[in-house]
């Protein structure tokens, strides 16, 4: 099994989840209120009040085929709006 970690602005959460659902993921987990720094923007907690929101960290455990299906849609969103996506190995307990 694979583990996919996506980190991006909360504002894109709906679009990303839609892309994941379309690829047929068996489930996902979302952790909001993450902050951080990318190549050029800093996302800090103290701007959350403004509605700009912080980052979301999404974890998906799924098969390799689904990762392939996810790839195109998700990377196009991340390339436009920013964010990172990494895949690693995971074995069900």
């Amino acid at each position: 099994m694979k583990r996919l970690d996506l980190i991006f602005s909360e504002r894109e959460l709906d679009a990303i989840l839609k892309a994941l659902e379309k690829a047929g993921v068996p489930g996902y987990t979302v952790m909001k209120h993450a902050t951080g720094r990318g190549p050029d923007t800093i996302v800090s907690e103290d701007m959350e009040f403004s509605g700009l929101g912080a980052n979301a960290h999404v974890i998906v455990f799924c098969d390799e085929e689904i990762i392939k299906k996810i790839k195109e849609n998700v990377t196009s969103i991340l390339n436009y709006y920013g964010g990172v996506a990494y895949v690693s190995e995971a074995i069900q307990l």
Partner: protein, 331 residues
Amino acid sequence: MELNLVLQNVLTPPVLFFFLGIIAVVLRSDLEIPAPLPKLFSLYLLLAIGFRGGIELEKSGFSDPVLPTVGSAILMSLLIPLICFVILRLRLDVFNSAAIAAAYGSISAVTFITAESFLESQNIQFDGFMVAALALMESPAIIVGLLLVRVAATKERPDSRQMKWGTILHESMLNGSVYLLLGSLLIGFLTAAHNPGGVVKMQPFTGKLFYGAECFFLLDMGIVAAQRLPGLKKAGSFLIFFAVLIPLFNAVLGVFIAKALTLGPGNALLFAVLCASASYLAVPTAMRMSVPEAKASYYISTTLGLTFPFNIIIGIPIYMSLVNTIIPSTS
């Protein structure tokens, strides 16, 4: 006299708490107001401002000074972004220019209520219907900003990213803070018209508590603004000048229009403040979604890191003395 007004403004609790927040950051205190507590105060203030504005609007009706004033305010929120856009394009690309322009066309509710508190501490009268102007200046500025992107950036955007009218209207009218403010205004209006008992029962929450909650929120805004300031340095001196001079310019414009509308000094100050203030709630949220090409740090560090504290601390008293100079007191 101006200095005196500044001092009188600075020695009110809202501005003092704002300073307390700024100094906390400057001295590197670990004072923090963790999320989502600031959101609680932000939601509360929008709800209370709207509700109270609705009640006042019901009282005043839509008779003479109300409609022309609100109408002029809306016009200003369409005009200011255009002026700003032209200036910003001297140095910035279409996306950044449009996003910043929209922010300056829109308003800052906290600056507005700080101006109200200032007027109260000076015993200068103003009208509650000005909140309607506040509430109605957000959406038009967003629409202008997004239209500017649509018109001016056709070549730079792939077809799939063309701004659609649906998006424009959605972002401008259904943005969380615009929606809450307009909705509460409507609820205040309906309650005042049909259920006066409800107005009385809301009073401890939306009325009495307001001033203290404003102070608490300004403490946080001081922290937030001071943390945005370093971002401005990166943005460069053009934007630093812009963030101080444009509010002054817009305020002058506002005072002359207030004069043309024959508003009293209190309402004239509020009108000037609406023109001078820039949005760091509704507009940035809308721009982040629909114009991701624009750098968030630009439109946030200008509006929140500089224009906001400038207005709160010295802008308001400066605009007041502008009003006193340009509009001859009739009393």
